[in-house]
Amino acid sequence: MSSLTGTVALVRLALRQGRVRLAVWLYASVGLVVTTAVSFARLYPTIAGRREFATGVADNPAFNALYGHLLAPTSIGAMTMWRIGVNGAALTGLLSVLLVVRYTRAEEETGRLELLGSGVVGRRAPLTAALLVALVANLVIGVLLAAGMIGLGTGVPGSAALGLAFVTTGWLFGAVAAVTAQLTETARAANGLAIGVLGFSVVLRGAGDSGGGLSWLSWLSPAAWPEELHAYAGERWWVLGLPLVATAVLLASAYSLVARRDLGAGLLPVRPGPAQAAPSLRSPLALAWRLQRGVLMGWTVALLLFGAIFGSLAAGIGDLLRSSSQLMDAINRLGGGQRALVDAFIAAVMGILAAGAAAYALQAALRLRTEETDLRAEPLLATAVTRTRWAWSHTVFAMFGSAVILAAGGLAAGVAHGLRTHDATQVLRLLGAALVQLPAVWVVAGIAVALFGMLPRQVVACWGFLVGFLLLGQLGPVLQLSQWVMDLSPFTHVPRVPGGAFTMTPLIGLAAAAAVLTAAGFAGFRRRDAGV
């Protein structure tokens, strides 16, 4: 067993490095599931209410595609499994992928493993250590979930099945990552490949659950197996065999791959690149496009999907709430009616799109700082490129990349909503509602640029600003904060469209603030030392 020497030490190292991350993951998973169950129990205390709810969602293909089928209409456990269990298990799979790649390929890529590998560490030890951490972390989550659900009185067998669904899905995708980490040379590619498998599984399950005679697809998708387990609905325990067998097969192949390759190398061939640069690669902007395009495309696709899914849900939002006649009465009394409800929902979706676009804008703007601290800016600034020109090359992506992302999300939502309501005008209406968010996103990006220029060491604080703004939006009304506090967030000033009144003044104000912040950042960068 000499190839496993050092496993224990590596497990301890991984726990030491990742303890905060692991703890957050644990609390978030358990918290999410248990609070969902609690809120269902509170919203639908009666069997009759639950039946009403169930009939509201049963025939909605959008819900089925998004969450799966609600298998036992009167059980709080089954409702929880439907609403959060199926996708929660997939999320556990995602986190397992990130964990395994982090402690295998990422360590190897950065060369840290080389340092360890020259010590007393067997060649299978790093993979074994990563898998042990993933195995135990998933097991703990499963046990806590089952205990929590039993504590809520949802029944022992069902709770155990729900817990096991999370555990086996986590293990399975951890094993997928164990294989992809052997295939590719970079952690990014290993993550991409494994997450691709996961994403494909989720889409496959969605297609299988959306009806139309495709239900057999679900059996091909590991993301559907937690649903097929029928937790709280006459558990089919044998279904657990599927992920367990798949995990075993994947692990066996991962270990046989480890034995066959060199440290640092992958098994997929590394393709040689062009010996000469394309004629277009002749400006800082062209370089920034090369560096930023992947991230931009990723975000665009993500928000496109998000927009399409939630756009298609908007029209049906009333169906979900109609089951709760009290809620409908309340909304009608407010003078909104069905139409206002849908608009409010769309406005909320646009708020989430804006948060996503702002996160992208920060990621794009912070590239300036990483290029600088990694000393890659230096050779560029030693050519005939001015600081302003170089700083623009990445700022352009923060400002206009976020516009592209918002437009993609808004357009997708508009098309989806338009198709469901048979109303083509919705396309432009929702596109507009998305683009209205842009000046607020610019302010967030402007904060990052200003920090980069004037307080470069503190530039990461821009994430704190974004989180603060989002929390203000979420918690402000609940905590009844005074208006001037709310006004600190640029998102407060965005007109609530569709539905609300549209005014141009706040948008101009936001854009001006963003321009001032960006100009201040550029001026600061022109005056300060580069590379410190």
């Binding site: 970079t186 010996a275 640069a277 002749r282 090369r290 005939a384 030392d529």
Partner: protein, 307 residues
């Protein structure tokens, strides 16, 4: 000849750490100038000021007749820079990086690029993340050497190269000098500096401690003499300028300041010279002499900011 680089009294601090403390540097047009100093002595800081990446706190610096902080674009079209730590964009190939840097500088000569790729034996199709430190350095060197510029600023350009590539590098620099280009070569590989440089500046703790041609510097150094004599020499050890005098049977060893050399010879002749060996100071000895003098001072002064 006019000065390609002239720096006087340059000062720069990072917080409380003083990196440059009145540094002087003068590089004549068309010469290869060695820039010597131990780690942390301020070589890279000086170079970054010359490139307009850092702003000096005091003193003056002029590059190709311009102000390095103000005239960034016009100056940078006329110079090329190879950093000591070359980090590249992992997803770009070496060939792409060479072309990009060359184009941003104002174009590069494709024939020269091809020739340099061959001489440095670099595969331009590999992604930068797969390059070793030496290969990354080759990328930066080829990008710099393939550009048609007046001034090359090289910051420890050979620290990752193997001896074979080091030889190629020396050939290339010799050719650059033939072509009339000016080179500022920061290094602590003394053999390289000795082989390539017309003049050197030695700096220490952010200040220039010595500057001149190698011959000038040698003149100020000491010659080591080993002689076999028939009778013990008399009074040699007491002569001014003689150091480390040692006698072992008929063998005499001593070091003498070069300007006192003629004072020693009569004493040796009187003792009956059977064999005589004299060696001029190596650059290494010159270098070490500047850094060994005052160990107390070295220990108490804060280490200047790293590169």
């Amino acid at each position: 000849m006019s000065a390609a680089i002239s720096v006087s009294g340059l000062r720069k601090s990072f917080g409380r750490v003083r990196a440059l403390d009145g540094l002087d540097l003068s590089v004549e047009t068309g010469e290869v100038h060695g820039f010597l100093g131990p780690n942390g002595s301020g070589k890279s800081t000086t170079i970054r000021i010359l490139l307009g990446l850092l702003r000096a706190d005091g003193g003056s610096a002029e590059v190709l007749g311009g102000d390095p902080w103000r005239d960034v674009t016009s100056l940078h079209r006329r110079l090329a820079y190879v950093p000591g730590d070359v980090t590249l964009w992992p997803a770009l190939t070496g060939g792409e990086v060479i072309d990009l840097l060359g184009r941003l500088r104002g174009g590069l000569d494709p024939a020269r690029r091809a020739r340099l790729l061959e001489r440095f034996d670099l595969d331009p199709t590999r992604r930068s993340r797969a390059y070793s430190k030496g290969n990354r350095q080759k990328v930066a060197l080829i990008a710099a050497l393939a550009s048609d510029v007046e001034l090359l600023i090289l910051d420890e350009p050979t620290s990752g190269l193997d001896p074979l590539m080091e030889a190629v590098f020396r050939e290339c620099i010799a050719e650059e000098r033939e072509a009339g280009r000016t080179v500022l070569l920061s290094s602590h590989i003394l053999a390289e500096v000795e082989a390539l440089c017309d003049r050197v500046s030695i700096i220490r703790l952010g200040r220039t401690v010595d500057c001149g041609t190698l011959d000038d510097l040698r003149h100020l150094g000491r010659t080591s003499i080993t002689a076999e004599v028939t009778s013990p020499p008399v009074g040699l050890a007491e002569l001014p300028g003689v150091h480390n005098f040692a006698i072992d049977g008929s063998r005499v060893r001593l070091e003498v300041d070069n300007d006192r050399l003629d004072m020693v010879l009569p004493g040796l002749v009187a003792a009956g010279v059977r064999s005589l060996e004299s060696r001029p100071p190596t650059l290494e000895e010159l270098f070490l002499r500047h850094y060994r003098v005052d160990p107390v001072e070295t220990a108490t002064e804060p280490a200047p900011a790293s590169r």
